[in-house]
Symmetry: C2
Amino acid sequence: MEEFRILEIKQSVFENNDRQADLLRSELKEQKTFLLNLMSSPGSGKTTTLTRVIEQLKDEMKIGIMEADIDSDVDAKTISGTGAKVIQLHTGGMCHLDADMTKQGIEGLGTEEIDLAILENVGNLVCPAEFDTGAVKNAMILSVPEGDDKPLKYPLMFSICDVLLINKIDVLPYFDFSIEKCTERVKKLNPDIKIIPISSRTGEGIDVFADWLREEVAEWKK
Amino acid sequence: MEEFRILEIKQSVFENNDRQADLLRSELKEQKTFLLNLMSSPGSGKTTTLTRVIEQLKDEMKIGIMEADIDSDVDAKTISGTGAKVIQLHTGGMCHLDADMTKQGIEGLGTEEIDLAILENVGNLVCPAEFDTGAVKNAMILSVPEGDDKPLKYPLMFSICDVLLINKIDVLPYFDFSIEKCTERVKKLNPDIKIIPISSRTGEGIDVFADWLREEVAEWKK
């Protein structure tokens, strides 16, 4: 198992988060690092999905993962077995990451030579949607057991994401979840969002997500 | 289907939330209304669990439900079919309810003659744990698909609850979730917590939760 650091994130002192986010994006553009902000409820499968997608992309690009949590290092431990570079960020109780906190993580990770950096945000469908982290793109996971009504209840999160991964489709037979209804509700909020049904357990659909990441990273490096 | 109101909650002006919470509890004690604050991640089954427990208790006591959400009225619609009094609270984007917001809900619901009031908090394992709502007891739901590692990642939530309902035990065969491991992690944070495995789909374990509520309501009315 690879080593990883635990970084205690300090609360931001900047009042204008949007400005800090734009600054971070410019820096990432210069060093040709693509940053994805991955959000979801607790337990919808962010870490497992990451282990799957790292498997598909690690031979083509250098990947760095930031695991943000209030406490514990279980996610960084999981990722450290994949060959990707990883750092665990502790948010000191904070329910989301803003741009300055993300920048602390990026600096802790060290992005020189990293092509694809992924921030696994705190598990929360509310607060992280309100803060631009400086990421190039936002992705979210909604898992089948959570229900297809979530776009109705957490509209902001579904509105600000570029990609929605519908995870745990292997358990569709055991839950009352309609991909069609969910898609309809999401597209009403966000017509341009890309929706990818996946199972991080069986690996189904992960190639589609990997293809999307591959294209985005190539585009960002131009 | 019964009628219900949608109340747009105003942000609190009080600086000392703990004081407001104590005040609300005294008022509830006077009018002999027991208030439960029910918390969980999005989609772990708060509303379905409530419909089940209302079914078991509605002939013995008058029940009022406050459904807090950022948007939508789907949960209040669901509850309005049960015979309980219900009000939908819109939090204006807020990720949690504090004591003053809860008081606005209580006033909107009208608790005269209500024996058991339940606040279904915003789906979020982080922020609601930080604010005393004025409830007499706190309960939370963790559902099997979310994983048994959640106590490690969201310790505050598990520390402040009097009851933990482990929901969706009907799908235990399809997920890698150990009730034993989960219990061990939770009890380490909170030795006095009562843990009740339930399935809001099949109804299993709901009678145990109903018994607990029955006793707490009786105790509060003394």
